[in-house]
Symmetry: C2
Subunit: 390 residues, 2 copies
C-alpha cells in the first residue's frame, strides 16, 4: 500500500488550505507522506500546480484522483458542502480520508457519512489542527483528570477571525447559503466549536443571537452570540465574529475546584484550589463572612496558580495532524481527531443557526436534522443562487 | 439649613454599609458632612451605635429620624424593598436623599419614586459608587467622545461577588423573594448593571439564562447569563455569579474605531484605530486579502494602544459620592449619579429575571412593570415567608 513506509497522499482542492498542505509536505514537514497527486477543477490552478510541483500528478476531477490507483489517502480541501460527498466516495474505494473541517454543513449529511465510515476499513479522520496545539493538549489532560473539578461555567470569546468584504467577494460560493451554508460558524469558528466540546463536553441546549450581514454585505452571519446549557447545569457562552480588527481570543473554564483562563490560544493560567469551592462554602462560618465583607478574606491563599505558555509555531499544527494521520495508517497510532467526532461541531453550529431562526431554545440530543435542512433549504431558495440540498 | 457649611447627615440602617459610611464621615473623609444621627430598628445595633458614636443621636424608626429636625439629608442603607418607601417619605419632608443601590426591587416602585422626586425641591441622588472609580470616569469620557466609535459588542463577566451559604443565612430577608427580591442581580451586580448602561447605553432587548439556587441553598439566583440587544444592532453579554472563588472581572467594549478591555475594574487597555473598521474593510483589496490569509497582515499597525491603570483605594469611591452629594446640596455641584438614573439598572435586572421566567425575549422600552410585579408576587407567594408587594 505505502511506498517506503510512506503514505501516498492526494490533495483535492488547491486553494488556500490545499496549497498550504502541499508546501508542508514537499518541505519535509510530514515525513510519513509523499505528495503524489493534486486535483482541482480550475484550469488556472492546474497550471499553477504544474509550475510549482512538476513531479506531482494532476487531476481535474475528484473521482479521477481517487480512482487513479496513485493515492492511498486524500484530504478534502474544497467547499464545505463537498466534504461528505468526496469523503464518502473515497472511503467507498478504500481510500483513507482526512476530511477538512467542518465535516459538512448540515447534520443529516454528516451523519450519513459517519454511518457509512463505520462500515468500511479505511481510516476516516478530520483536520482539527487546533487540537494539536500543545496548549490545548495539556488543558484537555487537566480537564479530563478533573484537576479543576466539575465544570460550572465556560466562556469563549473568539473574534480574531477578521475577514473583509474583499475576502467574501473572492468566490461566488463564499458566504452564501447555497454555496457555503453559513458564515463564521461554518468557515472560521468550527475550530473553536470543536475545541469547546472536546474540552468541556457537548452542551444539551443552545440559545443564540446571530447577526446576518451585520457589518458585511453577505447573506450569512458575521457576528454570533450563543448561550449553552450543559447536562450538569453548567452554562457556556460562545461569541464569534469576523468584523473586529482588534480581535479577542479569551477562553474561561470555571470548575468546582479551579479555573482556566486561556489568552490568545497561547497562554493558559490555571488556578487549582486547595479545597473545592463546595467545601469552602460548606465550612465557612460567620467569622469568615465578616472577613469577606470587610475585605480581609485572603482569596489568593485558597488556590495555586500556574501559567503555561506554548509557542504556536505556524504550520506545526496542520503538519502534525497530517503526520498523525499517516502514522495511524502505517502503524495504528491513535488519531488526534477521529472523523466521527466532526458531527459535534457541525451540530453545535446548526443548533446556533436554528435557535436564531426559530427564536427557540434548541436541544442538542433531540436535534431535528430534517427541520434544520428544511430551513437551510428555505434560505437557499430565498437566495436563489444555488440548488437546495438533500 | 446646613451648619457651618456642612450637611447634617443621618444614616438609616446600621448594617455593613451604614456602619462603613459612619466611619468614613467620622474619620473626616467627607469634609462637607456632619454625621448627626443614625437610625436602626435593632436594639443591639442601637447599643453598638451608642458605644461607637456617643455624640450621634439615635432613632429606632426611619420616620422619627426624618421628622426630627436634626438632619438635612439621609441615606437608605436598609433592605432594598425599603429604599423607595423611605426615600419617598424623606423627600416629602424636604429632606435630601442619597438612595442606596438598587433604587428599588421592581420598576413600578422605582418609577413611582422617580415621578414623586420630580415634584419636590429636595435632592434625590443614588449611591452608584463605582461611577466614582476614576478608571470608569475616564472610560465614560472616551466612550462619550466616540473615541472607539459606535459600539458593536459589549461583554462583561463579573463573577468576583463570591458569597458563601453563611452569608445568605445571616438574615431572614436575605436571598428571599419577599425579603430581598432577588439574588446577585439585586444585591451585588447592580453596580455593574448601572455601569454597563451608563457606559454603553440602555439595551433594547434581553434574553437570559438565570440559575436559581444553583450552588447555594437559596430561592433566588446565584448565576446569571444574559444577552442584550442594543438599538444600533450591537450585542451585549452580561455574566455574574456568587459561587466563584477565583472570580472574573473582565469588560470588553468593541466599537467601530477601537476597543476597550478592562481587567479587575483597575486596568483598562484602550485600542484606538487609525482608520475605522468600516473604512479598513471598504478599502482592502485582493492583495490585502492575500496578506491576511497568509498571516502577513500587520494588524498591530492599524491601531494605537494605551494602558490606563488606576489605583482603587478602598473607601474613596463611597466617600467621594457622599462628599459630592453634600457639595451638590451646598453649592450645586453636579451629581455623580442622579437618583432618576437608578431605574435603568433595576429595569435591566427585572428584564433578566422576566426573560428567565417567561422563556421570552424581553423588551426594555416596552417593559411591562405590572407583569413583572405579578410574577414577583407569585414567587413571594410560593415562598410563603413574606407579604406580596404593590
Amino acid at each position: 500500500m505505502a511506498t517506503e513506509n510512506k503514505v501516498r497522499f492526494g490533495i483535492i482542492g488547491f486553494g488556500n488550505q490545499g496549497s498550504m498542505y502541499a508546501k508542508f509536505i514537499t518541505d519535509g514537514m510530514v515525513p510519513s507522506m509523499d505528495l503524489v497527486a493534486i486535483a482541482d477543477i480550475d484550469p488556472a490552478k492546474l497550471t499553477q500546480i504544474e509550475e510549482t510541483y512538476p513531479q506531482v500528478q494532476r487531476f481535474d476531477d475528484y473521482k479521477a484522483i481517487i480512482d487513479s490507483g496513485e493515492v492511498d489517502a486524500i484530504i478534502t480541501t474544497v467547499p464545505h458542502y463537498l466534504h461528505p460527498e468526496i469523503a464518502t466516495y473515497a472511503l467507498s474505494k478504500g481510500i483513507h480520508v482526512l476530511n477538512e473541517k467542518p465535516a459538512g454543513v448540515y447534520t443529516k449529511h454528516v451523519k450519513a457519512l459517519n454511518e457509512y465510515a463505520k462500515t468500511v476499513d479505511a481510516t476516516y479522520a478530520i483536520m482539527f489542527n487546533q487540537r494539536n496545539n500543545p496548549l490545548y493538549q495539556k488543558l484537555k489532560t487537566i480537564l479530563d483528570n478533573k484537576e479543576i473539578g466539575d465544570i460550572r461555567r465556560v466562556n469563549w470569546i473568539i473574534t480574531t477571525w477578521w475577514r473583509p468584504q474583499a475576502y467574501y467577494d473572492q468566490s461566488a460560493w463564499r458566504a452564501t447559503w447555497g454555496g457555503e451554508g453559513g458564515g463564521v460558524l461554518v468557515n472560521q469558528a468550527p475550530h473553536q466549536l470543536d475545541l469547546i466540546q472536546w474540552l468541556t463536553g457537548v452542551p444539551e441546549k443552545v440559545v443564540s443571537r446571530v447577526q446576518y450581514g451585520y457589518q458585511r454585505d453577505i447573506a450569512v452571519e458575521d457576528q454570533v452570540h450563543a448561550i449553552f446549557e450543559y447536562e450538569n447545569g453548567a452554562t457556556g457562552v460562545f461569541v464569534t465574529s469576523t468584523n473586529e480588527i482588534v480581535g479577542s481570543d479569551r477562553l474561561e473554564i470555571v470548575g468546582d475546584a479551579g479555573k482556566i483562563i486561556v489568552d490568545d490560544s497561547a497562554v493558559a493560567t490555571i488556578y487549582r484550589m486547595k479545597e473545592s469551592e463546595t467545601d469552602i462554602n460548606k465550612n465557612m462560618d460567620v467569622d469568615g463572612v465578616r472577613k469577606l465583607m470587610t475585605g480581609q478574606l485572603a482569596f489568593e491563599e485558597l488556590y495555586d496558580k500556574e501559567v503555561i505558555q506554548e509557542e504556536n509555531v505556524w504550520g506545526l499544527q496542520h503538519s502534525g495532524v497530517l503526520e498523525n494521520f499517516a502514522q495511524h495508517i502505517l502503524n495504528g497510532t491513535p488519531l488526534i481527531a477521529d472523523g466521527q467526532e466532526g458531527i459535534n461541531g457541525v451540530r453545535l453550529a446548526n443548533a446556533i443557526h436554528l435557535s436564531s431562526w426559530t427564536g427557540e431554545k434548541v436541544s442538542i440530543p433531540e436535534f431535528d436534522d430534517d427541520q434544520y435542512l428544511d430551513l437551510l433549504n428555505q434560505h437557499i431558495t430565498d437566495e436563489g443562487k444555488f440548488d437546495t440540498r438533500k
